[in-house]
Assembly symmetry: C2
Homo-oligomer: 430 residues x 2
Amino acid sequence: MKEIGIGLLGFGTVGAGVVKGLLDNGGLISERLGVKLVLRKVADIDTRKDRGVKLGPDVLVRDANAVIEDPAVNVVVELIGGTGAARDLVMKSLEAGKPVVTANKALLAGHGEEIFALARRKNVDIYFGASVGGGIPIIRALREGLVANHIESIYGILNGTCNFILTEMEQTGVSFDTALKDAQKAGFAEADPSLDVDGHDTAHKALILASIAFGCNPSPDSVSVEGIRRVSLEDINYARELGYRIKLMAVLKSVDSAVEVRVHPTLVPQTNLLASVSGVNNAVMVRGDLSGDTLFYGRGAGQSSTASTVLGDIADVARNLVSGSPCRVPAAVMPGRRVKLIDINEIESRYYLRLSLRDEPGVLARITAALGTQHISMASVLQKEIQHGRFAHVVIVTHGAQEKAMIKAVAHISSNSAVGEKPVYIRIEG
Amino acid sequence: MKEIGIGLLGFGTVGAGVVKGLLDNGGLISERLGVKLVLRKVADIDTRKDRGVKLGPDVLVRDANAVIEDPAVNVVVELIGGTGAARDLVMKSLEAGKPVVTANKALLAGHGEEIFALARRKNVDIYFGASVGGGIPIIRALREGLVANHIESIYGILNGTCNFILTEMEQTGVSFDTALKDAQKAGFAEADPSLDVDGHDTAHKALILASIAFGCNPSPDSVSVEGIRRVSLEDINYARELGYRIKLMAVLKSVDSAVEVRVHPTLVPQTNLLASVSGVNNAVMVRGDLSGDTLFYGRGAGQSSTASTVLGDIADVARNLVSGSPCRVPAAVMPGRRVKLIDINEIESRYYLRLSLRDEPGVLARITAALGTQHISMASVLQKEIQHGRFAHVVIVTHGAQEKAMIKAVAHISSNSAVGEKPVYIRIEG
């Protein structure tokens, strides 16, 4: 049986998962592929730590270059993360004509165009299935299974940490801070959680999906990103009362010949399957013009589930190597496209708007007048009894409105002396 | 740009959907593939009917052989259905070295081994993504994305007609007969609905999934199949009260070195995502040893969604033709395997058991004794007030028990003079 040599860069959690997967399921994989995957070299700066898996002699090295340069390594698997050394090593590997498998979303979100262009020029594969959705084969579904579709929209719950926190808040009634601490204790959140809770991780993944679905490559800075730090228990509870749940979502839409890509807390109807995605799980709802709505759900992170997708990619590269068909599925779909990103101010959405209003005559009339001036009409209003000193909460669900109109209306409302704390507005999708 | 010629066999609903997809999205597909897909010939016995799509001159013919034999046709797409002419034409095409794309589940469930063996011998592709799950790219996910996993279980809601009927019954409180008539009116059920409601369509799809996941090819006759005709509104309501929904499910499990493949109405906890799959939608929950639980959801049938998957398969075959890599992913995974199918009597399950009991002293004690004799223990009991003459309904949810023990216990219980109508038992999963 033909052998394909694997070289790993980075021997952390996912790296150890890939090694375990090869050890435990290597026979099965060979049986299915007709090719034997052989682990040749693993590079990590820490060569002493016990990862719970046994490597052969001389497999673990400190120098990543030794992995790329080893003639017995046919596929380089980058699991270092970040955009420094990882970028250099991925470029070096492609430059040397060696296919790459990576799970590095930050790298692809920031340097995808450059990396994909080099892969195309050298006619070498780069696979990155595990960069979005962990164990969910969503990249493959989008690039291959749904290849015949104009993608109309993608809604993604793409960060397990945020979904765990929001689920905890809703189900147990704890605050954001407490839920974050719970997530950290359970190992679902980093000591510095900002990459997750501020939405950047979700944004990286959204950019990768945008590149595949729409052939556009906006820079990470140009995308509107809002995290979950300001999601309050009150809003979660009002949302539930109105028939919604709050999720951190990546929202991607094709509108005429331009696209929306944004990340923010979002109200989702409880009847939408996405609302039932709880805990650290991820899910992606893709609407194609032919397929209709399809949903892909699973573990968004974790050692073995991420390894499952990395190994699926390695299998693909191995098939391409054996059959002499590199770049069978190009990494950059439609590289020639220049698709305009719609500014967040120009989008249209429905909104959840929570106001603190002093209980005095005519207040609500003035608020609704301010909305009316901006052509924002109301779908429903929920007024709660006074709980916070002299202020009552009024929650308004709007019909579709322009973001810029909403911003103007909220500014106008905020200036009203009867309004207490700053109004909160959250977009509604689905 | 290189051209790949497409020939269609069968110009029905899905056939017309494929033609529409090529007309509407052909430019997009070419841009993504780097290959132009050109419709060369379409065969159907009815060459006059208006399908709402325009074909070029001389494209539509009566003779299917003319499609296969046309040297300009590089890929044959079989959309005739059934196991008669479709089988002969698929074999003829493969024999001629022409790759085949098919959506024909009955054909593959009944003749898959023979067809896959011929494809392997001739080194020709056969793709069949649309045979299971319509617009959901589940076959691809299982064969490629999850290739590194031992598949532990698959739960599938695979028949839109049945799921529509069960959803209607639960949501509107109508009987099976009324719901079936509604489905027929809405165009979701055939005039003769037996292939759907008796579970055979689901069984065909289960067999295809079993072949990919476990490398086993049991004959359709050897699989235990139960449809939804006997699902009563009473059981749907009791199930809901106990926190479950009733779904027609394909259940596939790997148990030691053997497998279970069965189709039957199943109680699913309401908290399980599968319970939220309503109407004509389909979903498949796959548990891999590495990936954990992954769920794939979408439209299980319909013109454009099925066409989406057929076109995805055509794209795959086109990539293989262009890059000279036929059989890159073999149709028959692990053809050498001989995996034992576990007899339904030997399975273990939890059960929902509904009894009609005369209200007399000591009856429930005798019933529970009958269960105890078979080592079946009870997780919960729900006794309803007497509604049906002198009989009260008692609903028992058991812990895990052997099917054969359950059968014995039910036979014993049925013989009790205090028992009214025949006991109903339904398996619980998830």
